[in-house]
């Protein structure tokens, strides 16, 4: 499941279950490419939650999470950050990180 969210939703959501949060920018080619990669992953793992957050419109949240560039993917487990990936990544690397979360 891929969903675009804003800071309020992020703060209000239950983050104890594994999830991926991606910070993106509309002016970023790698982010556009990553969106296709995440859609591809979602097609094979429709129950795994993937949240997309606009880097430029959620300044307080990105600063709070220490996100300094885009795209940045943060993998959460039990409410804690388990892994972070910066820059465009390929599907196998992201799937591997998700599988580690789910293990």
């Amino acid at each position: 499941m891929i969903k675009e969210i804003r800071q309020q939703e992020f703060d209000g959501m239950d983050r104890t279950r594994p999830m991926l949060v991606e910070f993106y920018s509309k002016t970023c080619g790698p982010c556009k490419m990553l969106a296709y990669v995440l859609r591809d992953i979602d097609a094979g793992m429709p129950d795994f939650p993937i949240y997309q957050i606009d880097f430029d419109e959620n300044v307080e949240l990105k600063e709070r999470l220490g996100v300094s560039g885009f795209p940045t993917m943060i993998f959460f487990k039990n409410g804690e950050e388990a892994e972070r990936m910066e820059g465009l990544k390929q599907k196998p690397a992201i799937v591997k990180a998700i599988e580690a979360l789910l293990a």
Binding site: T27, G29, P30, M33, E86, G87, P92
Partner: protein, 622 residues
């Protein structure tokens, strides 16, 4: 519209064709000393060189003299006895009817006139030079460009006596075989990483291209056995300028790799210009036989490091220890001793080298001149210099034993590039080639980073100084930025012209593919605004285009299997523009090469641009 597609021959092929034609012309009739065959710029890239050919009934030696504007400017060389004479002529003046004398040792001689064309404006002329013909002897001063310009050589008067028309860059060194080693003009990835290193004669003939999969940058050095140490990186891992390879001189194969990520933490000790991508910024390599060690300069950690050649283990680090972990400092860093009032650490240094006695020299750019932002020194109060340190690896003490440049303050300040040379005790070169002002103020960042409208307010300068026994014996100023300077004679007995096709060695590696191909709409003409051009070279396809920041661009080669390449359009800020000669005027310009390694067959070229796929109208056969 259809895209602009062309096939581009390699310069080695072009030179081979030119050489074959020239040799045919030489054999078409019997040329004599009185009426020799003369070919100006025989290898197409060195317009101030020529080749003279003639035969003599008996083997005789020949002396070539290119007459200078005054007798001290003569360039002279004695060639061994032969009957078939092929005499390289170096040191012609541009835009001039040059007088060249050829004297045989049998007493016969001839005087020729060789007319040269005007040098382009990018062969910048010195704004001043102070030295003597006696001091320079047969030498000329070579410089390699960082701002738009040509690698060129200047004599004691500042007259241009040699230049190349290819965009060759970075370090220029003469190898033991007399030929020159210099970075190629073929860009592999921005801003300046090229396919490798050329080995070429002064006449311009390229004998070898050593291709490196990760590209080469900044520096290379020849080992005693002829193999080459070349600075490189492994781009897919996301960092640059943090590796060195040993290249087999005969085959171009990579024999060994040193990866500094194994030696150093990447998130400490950062200079003012460091980022995660370019965390070390290795700008020089030096091999010291005495200690069997390698010395590397890392601009973005303000550190000169030394590794054991065999084990690859870190021996020591020269640099300001502030910000480094305590245990690391204790183990590897030096403690200053001696007259501490004269001691300064080096910051964002270049061109580190070890002297025969174990001392270490480098060009201390001094950029930021501190480890923490609050203490950064602005350009107007800063200085650059050549510095020599004496190190004791037993007691881990360091003493500054010589410097030149601090006393000149901001007028000699270069935030980037530059080098030093050691000729012997008390005899040095200090080349401050990256000086610049913006609107009259000394630049706090590399002046070639100013683009567009700002460029008109930038004034560049390069000051090359030689010091002997504490006296300045040479100073040349050129209104441009030059990465390094190197003093050499044009003629060198070992640099013998040999005929035959040059070799392209090594590998460009396999270009990384992207596994996900966006499912987008298909069809329509590629909009003209993208100005897409494709050039098929002998070993790669180079795509150029103009895209807005952040557009999604993918290049597809569709054959029996499809190869997809993500083309970056988001440019990262380059914090150390050591060579700006590859920069396009339009900062939206994108250049992306695809190596032909592992590709074979026929491929249809198409593009995905944002949410649409376009047929490129080009079919490639590899």
């Amino acid at each position: 519209m259809s895209i602009d597609f062309r096939k581009v021959t390699h310069i080695i092929d072009d030179q081979h064709a030119a050489e074959e034609k020239m040799l045919q012309e030489c054999k078409s009739e019997k040329f004599s000393l009185d009426s020799p065959y003369i070919k100006l710029n025989p290898y197409l890239i060195a317009p101030l060189t020529a080749l003279a050919h003639f035969t003599t009934p008996e083997a005789v030696a020949a002396t070539v003299t290119v007459e200078g504007k005054e007798p001290e400017g003569n360039m002279r060389f004695l060639f061994p006895a032969a009957t078939e004479h092929y005499l390289p002529i170096y040191g012609l003046y541009p835009d001039c009817a040059n007088t060249v004398r050829i004297a045989l040792d049998n007493g016969k001689s001839a005087t020729l006139t060789i007319r040269t064309g005007k040098a382009p404006d990018t062969v910048h002329l010195p704004s001043g030079i102070k030295t003597t013909a006696e001091y320079m002897g047969d030498n000329v001063m070579f410089v390699s460009p960082t701002s738009p310009g040509n690698a060129a050589a200047y004599d004691y008067r500042g007259d241009v006596r040699w230049y190349v028309t290819l965009n060759l860059s970075f370090d220029l060194k003469r190898a033991a075989n007399g030929r020159l080693l210099m970075g190629t003009h073929r860009l592999l990835m921005p801003p300046y990483h090229t396919t490798g290193v050329f080995e070429f004669g002064m006449i311009g003939k390229i004998y070898k291209e050593y291709r490196i999969p990760g590209g080469s940058h900044h520096d290379q050095i020849e080992m005693e056995d002829g193999n080459l140490l070349i600075l490189t990186q492994d781009p897919p891992r996301g960092t640059v300028e943090d590796m060195c390879v040993l290249v087999d001189r005969k085959t171009g194969d990579i024999l060994r790799t040193w990866d500094y990520r194994k030696n150093l933490p990447q998130d400490v000790g950062g200079s003012g210009s460091q980022d995660k991508h370019d965390w070390f910024h290795n700008n020089s390599v030096w091999y010291d036989k005495r200690t069997n060690s390698l010395t590397f300069s890392g601009r973005h950690q303000d550190a000169v490091i030394n590794l054991d050649y065999d084990s690859g283990e870190l021996n020591w680090v020269i640099g300001d220890p502030e910000g480094w972990p305590e245990d690391f400092v204790k183990k590897y860093f030096f403690k200053p001793v001696g007259d501490l009032s004269r001691f300064d650490w080096q910051y964002e240094q270049h061109a580190a080298l070890m002297l025969p006695d174990g001392d270490v020299m480098c060009f201390d750019n001094g950029h930021w001149r501190a480890k923490v932002k609050e203490k950064y020194v602005p350009a107007k109060d800063n200085f650059s210099r050549g510095v020599r340190y004496r190190i004791n690896t037993g007691t881990m003490e360091i003493e500054q034993v010589w410097q030149y440049g601090k006393e000149r303050g901001e007028e000699f300040f270069s935030t980037y590039i530059c080098n030093v040379e050691y000729y012997g005790e008390g005899h040095y070169m200090v080349h401050s080639g990256g000086i610049g002002t913006f609107r009259g103020e000394t630049c706090n960042r590399p002046p070639v980073q100013f683009r567009g409208d700002d460029e008109q307010y930038v004034r560049l300068n390069s000051i090359t100084v030689e010091i002997k026994d504490d006296k300045v014996v040479y100073e040349m100023r050129i209104p441009a930025n030059y990465y390094r300077a190197e003093k050499l004679p044009l003629y060198c007995g070992e640099d013998k012209l040999s005929f035959g096709k040059g070799q392209i060695l090594g590998s460009l590696g396999v270009t990384g593919e992207f596994g996900t191909i966006p499912d987008v709409e298909v069809g329509g003409d590629i909009p003209d605004k993208y100005k897409i051009k494709l050039a098929q070279e002998v070993d790669r396809l180079v795509m150029k285009g103009t895209f807005e920041k952040g557009q999604l661009v993918m290049l597809l080669l569709e054959g029996e299997t499809t190869h997809a390449y993500f083309v970056p359009t988001t440019r990262r800020p380059f914090l150390a523009m050591c060579v700006g000669t590859f920069l396009e005027a339009d900062d939206r310009a994108v250049e992306f090469p695809v190596s032909f390694e592992n590709l074979s067959g026929t491929y249809k070229v198409s593009f995905i641009i944002d949410d649409r796929k376009y047929d490129g109208g080009v079919t490639l056969t590899i």
